[in-house]
């Protein structure tokens, strides 16, 4: 496929890897923000091409993974109502709540439908005027234009049986939370290319200056990631801390202006809880007062519900880059994609699920009998 295959050329990857070895003089820890990048790194073995003194740690950029138990429980409560059609991206259905997940609610008779786009949920609302249709709006800035447009269209068409359970999160406050943690080891960041395709990257410049960290906007294919790592290490070795853009084919400094305008029309910045991390100020999006009629938490009277996280899994440390998946005692034994304890084992972009899928034989031979054993 054009714009994909050419960025997976193994020979070019080897040239980048050689160049990275040549410029690396000491150990550096770099975090890729986005779960899509984590998946590509583990799938293509990008980390295995790097010198041993370069450590990649995996960031919080998986919206499925960071959605707190509180919102999962609210989703379960709404989805179980007989008058509701609950629409969601497929990944969310297996994220564990306190005692069950959305898939269990579906099995027990809840009308839960997996959709590809929020516009599909709006279509279901138009076609079923006697039912309440709720869309579980999870996502980072990349997904915000789609959800903003859906609310805007519902408002313009006066569709009253449609609402959003909003779980939107933002990348820059998460980077700041990681950098201000005393446990932080991260010296440079690969910023999430598609988040920046929407938002641009000027909001990262004050962060790079304040914490003196290089931030390189990076794409998702192996060559993109290797070039992003090279550019980050070059800055670190030269003592620079700037925002650079590797992903120029999709990202401009100012981002997508019409998309940003509609996001700002529909949403406002709010504090949000992150799974395993806790509340981060000004780290999410919520509906503006003008669109409050589309807020499912208010419509179903559950906005004030507070539910605490369970301490079963270490996904909070994994999402902050403090621990790696195989350092968890439950990894691959009591926690698997079939029976996940935490969301990082559910989503294909979760670090635990990626390690389980691509690394489990090597990392945990003792847990898994080989075929034929």
């Amino acid at each position: 496929m054009k714009f994909i295959d050419e960025y997976r050329d193994p020979k070019a990857a080897a040239r980048f890897a050689r160049a990275i070895r040549q410029i690396t003089s000491r150990p550096w820890t770099i975090m890729e923000i986005c779960g899509g990048q984590t998946h590509a790194i583990v799938r293509f073995g990008v980390d295995e091409l790097l010198p041993q003194n370069i450590t990649l740690v995996h960031g919080p950029g998986c919206p499925v993974c960071v959605t707190p138990v509180e919102l999962i429980e609210k989703a379960i409560e709404i989805a179980a109502r007989p008058d509701v059609v609950f629409c969601s991206f497929g990944d969310m259905l297996r994220v564990p709540g306190i005692s069950k997940d959305l898939l269990t609610v579906k099995a027990q008779g809840g009308d839960i439908r997996i959709v590809y786009s929020p516009l599909d949920a709006l279509k279901i609302a138009r076609e079923n005027p006697s039912r309440q249709v709720v869309f579980f709006a999870v996502g980072f800035e990349t997904t915000a234009p789609a959800n903003a447009m859906t609310v805007y269209q519902a408002f313009q068409s006066d569709i009253r049986n449609f609402s959003l359970l909003v779980a939107h999160v933002l990348v820059p406050p998460a980077i700041e939370a990681i950098l201000s943690s005393p446990a932080n080891q991260v010296r440079g960041f690969l910023a999430a290319g598609h988040v920046c395709a929407v938002m641009g990257y000027s909001e990262y410049e004050p962060i790079a200056r304040r914490y003196h960290v290089p931030i390189v906007v990076t794409g998702f294919e192996p060559l993109d990631i290797l070039q992003g790592i090279y550019m980050t290490i070059r800055q670190l070795e030269e003592g620079r801390a700037e925002v650079e853009n590797q992903y120029t084919r999709a990202v401009s400094k100012d981002g997508n202006r019409p998309a940003i305008d509609l996001i700002r029309n529909v949403f406002e910045v709010v504090p949000r809880k992150w799974r395993g991390v806790g509340e981060i100020p000004a780290s999410g999006l919520g509906l503006k007062a003008k669109y409050v009629a589309f807020d499912a938490e208010k419509r179903f009277g559950i906005a004030d519900r507070v539910i605490e996280e369970s301490a079963l899994c270490i996904s909070g440390s994994i999402l902050q880059g403090i621990k790696k998946p195989h350092e968890c005692p439950a990894f691959g034994s009591t926690c698997t994609p079939e029976h996940p304890l935490g969301a990082t084992m559910v989503s294909t972009e979760g670090a635990c699920a990626a390690y389980y899928r691509y690394r489990r034989v090597r990392l945990s031979d003792s847990f898994f009998p080989q075929p034929g054993d």
Partner: protein, 85 residues
Amino acid sequence: MCLAVPGKIVSIEGEDSILRSGRVDFSGIVKQVNLAYVPEAKIGDYVLVHVGFAINIIDEEEAQKVFEYLREMDDLAELEGSEAV
């Protein structure tokens, strides 16, 4: 979740800027995509599509930059290598 896939616009319909949409070809799989956020997109352009929305047009010239960077890096390494000899 933030997966966005490149595809080629094969048709465009809808005058309304909000409802502007088109058919986008992902190597044989064709899907209807909202084009409201890429008002300047034309048939034949490649767009990045996320949950049914084109979030940007892919810049064909910039798409070559990774390979130009690689060539410059190789030249530099060669230069440094020959200086070392």
